[in-house]
C-alpha cells in the first residue's frame, strides 16, 4: 500500500512541476546549464556575449569600445529624452526616478492591461499619454532614447519581477514556450542556437549565449549601421530561420522578452552594446 502511495507521489510530482510555472526554479536550471557548459566563465561576463569566445573579435571590440559607435545615438537619445513635450512634460515624468537608472526593472507585467510592457513600449506609452504619436519600435529615435536610458542603468543588476498571479505567470510561460518551440521552415527554436550551441560558429558569426543576451540591448550592429532594439533582433532571427516575423509590439515578442530577461536576473546591464 505504502509503495503504491510513493509511486503515485512520484508520478504526481513531475506533472505538478510541468503545470505550475516557477520562474525561480527555471532561472536556477537555466543559469546552471550555462555554468555547466562554461565552468570558467563568471556569470557577469555573459553580458559580453560572443566576445567571450573569440579572441580576435574581442580584440577588435575592445578597440572599438574606446570610442563606442553608439556614442552618437546615446547623445541624440539624451537630447530627445530631455526635450519637452508640447504639454510641457517630458519622458522623465512617466518613469520612476525620472527615468534614470531603471532599465534593469524592465520588462514589467502590467496587471491593468494584462500585458508585458518592455522599456521601448513604455517609452511609446509615455508619448501616447502626452498626445504624441508612437515611434517605430525597432530602430530610429526610439532606439536612441532606449540607448540613453539603458546607458544610465549600466551596471545595475537585472531584476525582472514575475508576480505570482495567474496572468503574469501565463505571460511568462508563453514566452518560455516561444523560446523553446521550433518554428520556421528551418525548424529552429531560439534554444537550438543560443542555448545548445553558444560559442559555436555559424559561418563566421559566433553564437551568443541566451544568458545575458538581453543585457546589452539596444545594440549598434555594424551590419545595420545604426541602433536596434531587442525586437529588431527577434525579427532578424525569425527571418533567418524562415519564419514570418511577428509585429514589433506583438504579445509573442513581449512575452519572449519577459521570459528571456527574467532568466538573466542578477546579471549587470551592459547596454547599449556594439556587435558585428
Amino acid at each position: 500500500m505504502r509503495r503504491w502511495l510513493l509511486l503515485l507521489l512520484a508520478l504526481a510530482a513531475p506533472v505538478a512541476a510541468a503545470a505550475a510555472p516557477n520562474p525561480a526554479a527555471d532561472r536556477a536550471a537555466f543559469q546552471g546549464w550555462f555554468r555547466h557548459l562554461f565552468p570558467q566563465l563568471p556569470l557577469a561576463k555573459y553580458v559580453d556575449g560572443p566576445y567571450n569566445f573569440s579572441a580576435s573579435e574581442r580584440a577588435q571590440w575592445q578597440q572599438i569600445m574606446e570610442l563606442p559607435p553608439y556614442g552618437f545615438a546615446v547623445d541624440h537619445g539624451k537630447a530627445l529624452f530631455d526635450a519637452r513635450f508640447p504639454d510641457g512634460a517630458g519622458y522623465a515624468s512617466c518613469f520612476p526616478h525620472g527615468g534614470i537608472g531603471i532599465a534593469q526593472d524592465y520588462p514589467q507585467f502590467d496587471p491593468k492591461t494584462g500585458r508585458v510592457v518592455t522599456l521601448p513600449i513604455a517609452i511609446n506609452r509615455c508619448r501616447v499619454a502626452h498626445g504624441l504619436p508612437k515611434l517605430k519600435l525597432t530602430t530610429g529615435d526610439l532606439a536612441d532614447i532606449d540607448a540613453y536610458m539603458v546607458r544610465t542603468s549600466r551596471g545595475h543588476k537585472i531584476d525582472v519581477v514575475v508576480p505570482d498571479t495567474k496572468p503574469a505567470l501565463a505571460a511568462y510561460e508563453a514566452g518560455k514556450e516561444y523560446f523553446y518551440s521550433r518554428r520556421g521552415q528551418l525548424n529552429f527554436s531560439c534554444a537550438s542556437c543560443h542555448l545548445q550551441y553558444p560559442g559555436h560558429r555559424v559561418r563566421g558569426d559566433t553564437l551568443a549565449p541566451a544568458l545575458g543576451i538581453t543585457a546589452s540591448f539596444p545594440i549598434y550592429r555594424s551590419k545595420w549601421g545604426n541602433m536596434g532594439t531587442l525586437v529588431r533582433r527577434f525579427i532578424g532571427c525569425n527571418k533567418n530561420i524562415r519564419s514570418a516575423p511577428d509585429k514589433p509590439d506583438s504579445l509573442a515578442y513581449r512575452d519572449l522578452e519577459y521570459f528571456l530577461t527574467a532568466m538573466s536576473n542578477g546579471l549587470p546591464i551592459a547596454g547599449p552594446g556594439a556587435r558585428p
Binding site: Q63, I64, E66, L67, P68, P69, G71, F72, S222, G225, N226
Partner: protein, 102 residues
C-alpha cells in the same frame, strides 16, 4: 555640431595612437530606399595633422562603412601637442576638429 568627430589621442613609449569616430552617413549610392536610390554621400579625403603638419591623408570612398572608426599611430608626438582631423565629402561638406594628445 551637425557632423561631430570624436577623437582620442594618447602617447606611450614615443608612439602616439590616434583613434577617431566620424559621424557620416557614407551612402554608397548603390542602396535603394522605397525603390529609389539613396544618392551617394561619402567622405572623399580625410587628413590628420600633428601641430599643423600632415601625418596621414586618407582617400576614402563609397566602400567605407557608416560612422567610420579609424585608428593609426605615428612617432614624434608629445603630450599636449595638437592633433587635427579634417574631412571633405563628395558634396563639398566639410568638418574639422582638433584635440590635445593625452
Amino acid at each position: 555640431m551637425a557632423n561631430p568627430i570624436l577623437v582620442r589621442a594618447q602617447t606611450a613609449h614615443g608612439v602616439t595612437t590616434v583613434a577617431c569616430l566620424v559621424k557620416h552617413p557614407m551612402d554608397s549610392g548603390f542602396v535603394k530606399k522605397a525603390g529609389k536610390l539613396i544618392p551617394p554621400h561619402y567622405i572623399e579625403v580625410i587628413e590628420f595633422t600633428h601641430n599643423g603638419k600632415t601625418v596621414l591623408t586618407g582617400f576614402w570612398g563609397p566602400a567605407v562603412s557608416r560612422n567610420p572608426f579609424f585608428s593609426f599611430a605615428f612617432k614624434g608626438g608629445k603630450k599636449g601637442d595638437t592633433v587635427g582631423i579634417a574631412w571633405v565629402d563628395n558634396k563639398g561638406e566639410r568638418a574639422a576638429v582638433s584635440a590635445k594628445i593625452a
